[in-house]
Amino acid sequence: MRQDTRMKPELGESQAAETAPRRERAPAEAISLRAVGHSFGDLQTLAGIDLEVAPHGVVGLVGPSGCGKSTLLELVCGLAEPSAGAVAVGGDSAAEGRLARCALMPQRDLLLPWYSAIDNAALALRNQGMPRNQARAAAAALFERFGLAGFEPARPSELSGGMRQRVAFLRTLIAGKPVLALDEPFAALDAITRAEMQEWLAAALRSDPRTVVLVTHDVEEALYLCDRVVVLSARPARVVAELAAPAPRAENRDEAVTDPEFVAAREEALRALHAGSRGS
């Protein structure tokens, strides 16, 4: 099934053209972390993390700053190796396999200033060997759908913070990988833009579901966007609490986040976060 839909880098251009329209339906794959530990030299960042994400599940990771959340994403994406335990994506624990199945959206948007917005969004397609015009056409369809129409030729420096994040997210989405690893995607935005972007991302995931690991320090954001929120402790990070979100990616965000059940979940998460960051 995966072979049908996933773009392989070695595919020729003509085959790429056939695969392109189907790219939007990425296969559903699960993530599994078993007793994962990680250290930089003597500094232990992760200690015995167990985490299961179901296919098309959306899991949020919240924790104090510097607790190793970004490292966890790099482990999932195959950009780093655990020093203990095992990380598997779609049952494959080899780094190459994880790299092929995951797309990372880093903390800063990291749009390349020498490319236009559309060329930044289409980077993954170009990397797969697709000719420029074809890659642009594929990305343009998503620009249209996600409120970026007209900004295709803009330089990243000409875009607002919210638009830059949208382009960065589309760049990640267009890669067509089954797993998205989002590292504090909206941390740099003001509160109003962030709320808009959360609704926008919720809509994007409703129409194009993927397996998602979302790192954030915003408990509300995690509870609104994710099915499940995992609270991590201060370094070395371990799981201190797991909560189910009451109404993941509800269409009306304002209603969802003021619902008593949501408020109760948020308070519970915050309590766990405080307890964890004190390093009990």
């Binding site: 880098p9 790099e74 994406c77 950009l79 790299l99 092929a100 995951c102 797309a103 990372l104 959206m105 880093p106 903390q107 800063r108 990291l110 390349l112 200033p113 020498w114 980077l123 993954a124 170009r126 990397n127 797969q128 330089r155 420096s157 760049r171 990640t172 890669a175 690893a181």
Partner: protein
């Protein structure tokens, strides 16, 4: 519109003020030299202190001679810079790619700067003869350092997060180089190029002094022996104009290539 007007004024100021200062200096020189004030102060014969007007007429009278020799020197400069660019960028890429090579070679490259390269020019003349060869080698040796060091700096300044992002988007090493590392290193490479084009004419002149039969440096040298002071100054003017043109072209190329800055 307002903005454009203000920009136009500052641009005019930027050009106008140095030009006015230069005109003032040349004027003062003209007066001081035509009245014989400089020659008297230095107790020299008048013909050894040419006035700007005499230099200008020498420039005109010797235009063909100057143009022929300028072409010789320009060729040495351009070929030397080209060699330095190819070797410098290539070496910077290799040092960036292989950490061991960088650790081994970088200190040597820096230390090699203590060698007064112009002093080894005569040795190169002994080895390679009076032709264009040793001149290209000298210019290339002088330009290699700023180009290599700045290209390597540029490559090292690449955001490692951007490289990770590209890996995650399925980029091969080659694609990461061409789409992230090379463009990110370009502004720094141009900084090195701008230094190179400033020092290249000086290197070419020194190389010609070590032994040559043509070129602007050779012309200056033979005019020294014959007390052709006005023509010497005229040659210096041509050499400066050559260097300025090269700097201008490099800046223009940078603006054309590095459009995102």
């Amino acid at each position: 519109m307002h903005d454009m007007g203000a920009k136009g004024t500052t641009r005019l100021r930027r050009w106008l003020l140095p030009v006015l200062l230069l005109a003032g200096l040349i004027g003062a020189w003209q007066i001081a030299s035509s009245t014989g004030a400089i020659a008297d102060a230095l107790s020299l014969e008048d013909f050894l202190v040419p006035s700007p007007a005499e230099i200008a007429s020498s420039l005109w009278e010797n235009r063909i001679l100057l143009a022929e020799n300028a072409w010789v020197t320009l060729r040495e400069i351009l070929l030397g810079i080209l060699c330095a660019l190819v070797a410098g960028v290539g070496f910077a890429i290799l040092m960036h790619r292989w950490r061991v090579l960088r650790d081994a070679a970088y200190p040597l490259i820096v230390a090699s700067q203590t060698i007064p390269i112009v002093v080894i020019a005569p040795i190169l003349v002994v080895w390679f003869g009076y032709g264009i060869g040793p001149k290209i080698v000298i210019v290339a040796l002088i330009c290699f350092f700023p180009i290599t060091v700045n290209a390597l700096d540029g490559l090292r300044s690449v955001d490692p997060e951007a490289v990770k992002m590209m890996r995650s988007l399925g980029a091969s090493r080659w694609q990461r180089f061409w789409r992230v590392e090379a463009p990110a290193a370009l502004p720094s490479l141009f900084t090195g190029m701008k230094i190179a084009v400033v020092v290249a004419p000086i290197a070419a002149v020194f190389a010609e002094w070590a032994g040559s039969s043509s070129g602007l440096g050779h012309l200056i040298q033979s005019d020294t022996a014959n007390f052709e002071v006005a023509r010497q100054f005229a040659t210096v003017v041509v050499l400066s104009a050559l260097a300025l043109a090269l700097i201008g072209l490099t800046a223009l190329a940078e603006r054309r290539v590095v459009r995102w800055r």
